[in-house]
Symmetry: D2
Amino acid sequence: MSENVKVAIIGSTGYGGVELIRLLASHPQAVVTSVTSSSSAGAPIAEGFPHLSEIRTDMLDDVDPALIKSKADLVFLATPAGVAAKLVPSLLEAGLKVIDISGDFRLKSRDSYEKWYKKEAADQHYIDQAEYGLSEVYGDRVLGKDFISNPGCFPTATLLGLVPAVQAGYIDPATIIIDAKSGVSGAGRGASLGTHYSELNENFKAYKVNKHQHIPEIEQVLSDVAGRPVITTFTTHLVPMTRGIMSTMYASIQGERSLEDFISLYNNYYEGRRFVRIRQAGSWPATKEVWGSNYCDIGFSVDERTGRVTIVSVIDNLVKGAAGQAIQNLNLMMGWDETLGLQFVPAYP
Amino acid sequence: MSENVKVAIIGSTGYGGVELIRLLASHPQAVVTSVTSSSSAGAPIAEGFPHLSEIRTDMLDDVDPALIKSKADLVFLATPAGVAAKLVPSLLEAGLKVIDISGDFRLKSRDSYEKWYKKEAADQHYIDQAEYGLSEVYGDRVLGKDFISNPGCFPTATLLGLVPAVQAGYIDPATIIIDAKSGVSGAGRGASLGTHYSELNENFKAYKVNKHQHIPEIEQVLSDVAGRPVITTFTTHLVPMTRGIMSTMYASIQGERSLEDFISLYNNYYEGRRFVRIRQAGSWPATKEVWGSNYCDIGFSVDERTGRVTIVSVIDNLVKGAAGQAIQNLNLMMGWDETLGLQFVPAYP
Amino acid sequence: MSENVKVAIIGSTGYGGVELIRLLASHPQAVVTSVTSSSSAGAPIAEGFPHLSEIRTDMLDDVDPALIKSKADLVFLATPAGVAAKLVPSLLEAGLKVIDISGDFRLKSRDSYEKWYKKEAADQHYIDQAEYGLSEVYGDRVLGKDFISNPGCFPTATLLGLVPAVQAGYIDPATIIIDAKSGVSGAGRGASLGTHYSELNENFKAYKVNKHQHIPEIEQVLSDVAGRPVITTFTTHLVPMTRGIMSTMYASIQGERSLEDFISLYNNYYEGRRFVRIRQAGSWPATKEVWGSNYCDIGFSVDERTGRVTIVSVIDNLVKGAAGQAIQNLNLMMGWDETLGLQFVPAYP
Amino acid sequence: MSENVKVAIIGSTGYGGVELIRLLASHPQAVVTSVTSSSSAGAPIAEGFPHLSEIRTDMLDDVDPALIKSKADLVFLATPAGVAAKLVPSLLEAGLKVIDISGDFRLKSRDSYEKWYKKEAADQHYIDQAEYGLSEVYGDRVLGKDFISNPGCFPTATLLGLVPAVQAGYIDPATIIIDAKSGVSGAGRGASLGTHYSELNENFKAYKVNKHQHIPEIEQVLSDVAGRPVITTFTTHLVPMTRGIMSTMYASIQGERSLEDFISLYNNYYEGRRFVRIRQAGSWPATKEVWGSNYCDIGFSVDERTGRVTIVSVIDNLVKGAAGQAIQNLNLMMGWDETLGLQFVPAYP
């Protein structure tokens, strides 16, 4: 609970990086001392992001571990898949702490990474070092660590909605079906037909059905908490909005479990964790109700006709699904209160 | 293929009614001779709908069966639940043909209607007369009938996506899970917090989970084609867009069925039916690709890891999900080509 | 009113081209016999535009005047600025009639084109041949012509809103200020940060202030109808929607002119022209009220406090602002009723 | 710069009230001790606003001055027009400080209020007491006052964009034309056809042309800084987005003034005022660049062809246009730094 930490952000010109800047601006014990970009080094960061005018007047630095180490103690990586795999070793060797928001160190199996990401995996040595920071599930392991792999956006919403029920045996893991929906900012700032306004507005699309690279990440955690291999059906859809993820999850109930049983189970599991809010019976979370905040809201329906439970979990993909949880991991690493600098009220409407 | 038909529209000031006006304006053998409204009779229809200025200059008529019969041969009802139940008997007795777009005559069981709709059901006598017009499944029964009950929007998208597989035994009906999403126009033109722009824009919501009145309609048809009772898990979501429905459907595959088997099955089932388009492997339909048209596009993924099929089906809820299929039913009743006046190219983008 | 015309579309993979395909699909006397693309020749057009699946099963042709001439009588160009300038001579020489939707032949002055478009202008010889087809103003000149330059989207909305008042001397041309707003489809299908969904959704932007290439086109026509040079202040804004343009126009009134005077003037000017609808006092047109149609709706406010009139004009930029007016010009060239194949009711909501 | 202040919010169930709750949650020297509602007293505030779950667990109080005084020192009124006029006297007499976000005390002339608002005006005695808190223009007058009338959303964006130029004589006040655009949240949370999602999505509308009640407020200030009566042309439009206002303003330049002259003038005028950001030449502010923040960003174009300047000013209507500026006024009243608790980075994207 002591001194401040100086942080650098690699990938400052993407949405994850710029959201880190927004959130860290009000963090009482972290200060951003370097923002870097491989493509725009030397330019003022506010040039590409005019909303930062007069807020951040600094220039973008080169992605140079020695330079970064001279300015910062810890680095956030908010880079496209494949970049962190190559960069992290030199950052760690330079003595920097690292929180990687990309997917490069989430999967413990290199084969699995290469199958789902279609890229070369990082060194097993560094993969083994990375602590997977799903805060409300594995937060205890993060304290004092130097290298955190921050969970994906879909896995965060999905796992927070499933882990208590799987761990407690309330649902049959073999029956889990996950129907996920995301706002467009999840696709990043790159321009393509797939992110073109006129193609997405007034449109609802399915994509990467059964092929999304977040599937093995979800299964890795569910298998861990179930104590045996779990495979799932997972579909992603694109919603005509900027921020927000909803995972709607279905599973067969094991034993006699009422709606109240599920609500109690989750309230107990997440006791003391401020960022997970369990809804009362009959109340369904909507993505706007967590917009701009680090909350994950979860609601339930138990259907006696089918013997299935429906679980709905929502997050802001750029906050709890990326930059917010990364700062939560920073707090946990440093032994601070996990909510430090993250107590934003959702922006509504 | 002979003479023209004069049609009246009851409920002309809602979205279903006004979409009938749009579509019928280019129908070569139907002419709208009366538009009625219980709330605004006497006013020009273009007053509440300025997009109809100089296109329809007539005044709204009272909802009076004798008056309607003096002007028209057939009436479309695009009214809220509960209205058609009371109105249809007098319309049929006045000698009018009737196509009811509301849910009042879809369920053959009065108990089921009263349980799910929370309203008094229509007379069993009239329920028995109503032919359920899911065109591509039951179209043959519609020819020459006087009273058609037009399917609901969610059931249309869902059933066109499930019926061939259930009927052929490719999937286990007990495992069907339906995750449905709709644009806001499905909620009608009534103003409420639930249709307020600032509450829905940049928001994605679940609603009526396991409680939607379209559940028994879907189960009634699936039970019919399966030859035994089918119950399903069905969730609805609200998408920040005006038009469009997507049903994402999951089920366990029975036997060895490849993706190509599903595509062949559906192509065969829908052979000669112009409004259902089966996508090739790897192509997923998006709601905008059927916007403003009577098409239903369907795509598939077969997942060998889980043994499940994922089926995605999209429609425009106001066209194939309401006014368009109602006109298709008019065509089928009259013995005309079912595509008459409905060959709209989707408006893209 | 005789035989049919076979048409080719160059630039079929942009929004203007694909809208021509949509609209011409229901034209009773024109048939699209060739769709071309310089970038995707040989591919099925429905591959890039799945909404055309089973509607258009043809492959994209090369942009080859001889090939096109073997298939078609007339060609629509829906190409980016600079393409038509080079292509039109060979098309005309091949004996094809041409309707150019791009800006390459709208400005009579090559200098002006090069100043505002920052590209090399077309040959003066061909510029002189091009008839500027603002249908309700210059439609009479189009009959029998071989080469039409179709007006820009902003000029169409703006000029239909200003020409009667300028010509009649009801307003002082020196005081005209035009505040224009457009949906994103006006920027075309090219992917860039400027058309990225997350950058435009929940955002309202000004762009090209006093620099838009449609300024000289507007001034050219206003100068023509005023009988003396007119220069204007013109600002464009980007609205988070796909289709629609609104021009809000301000000018000082000359003489004593009431709201009713303006309404009468415009009703007289546009008498018999079905696609311009003059609103009654107190009714303001909204872009959705013309969505998907060829209408231009115009409303007025006369402010006695300031002595100014405010004129609001709306169109669908892809229809009356591009493909629709191009077909209207086809109709006028051929001596057909100008509304042929264009009587779409706006899609509402 | 001393002790904390306890504040109550009247009208906590509207968008202005709930935004005050969001912003004040991170204010270091103000604490919300009572949230009231005339319609929902006794209910938990989080019931109607689930985004506040576990953040605010209190019940809504009745609107009772004595009760409020027992809990708070100062009250914010975020009520519909006409309510504050009746309520403020009893609040002031109870010894509460008051910041009124509604329009009831902005106009110094009762006649003007009654003409434009179509409601009975407040007592002249209380109108005279109210200090109009346009922070960057009249902020000096606010210190130590007990009763502040907070400016309207359109006037804030418009006046911050015009006052320096009018005061310095750079533009001719008689030529000012204001074309304003607002997101839908400006219309409040009341449900009506005018706030219905399907009516507004993919739509752009003009409304209250030359009739908006913010016109006399704008003119009152411009007349004050010009030193003579100013009347203006003012049009409002509704943008399909939730938050954000842009005012695009046009005026004839007086004297020889370059773009750089305008930029210098504004930079000087707003020196030391953190919430106004003047854009460099060629950079245009967009509403998303101030979303969720208290900034007002202003850009310019000087057009030599017409001798006019175009000024673009953007704010978040719920922050700088309502709750944010109200807190800025609280800070100024109390003698605190005006940015206290308001240093939010805009949420982008």
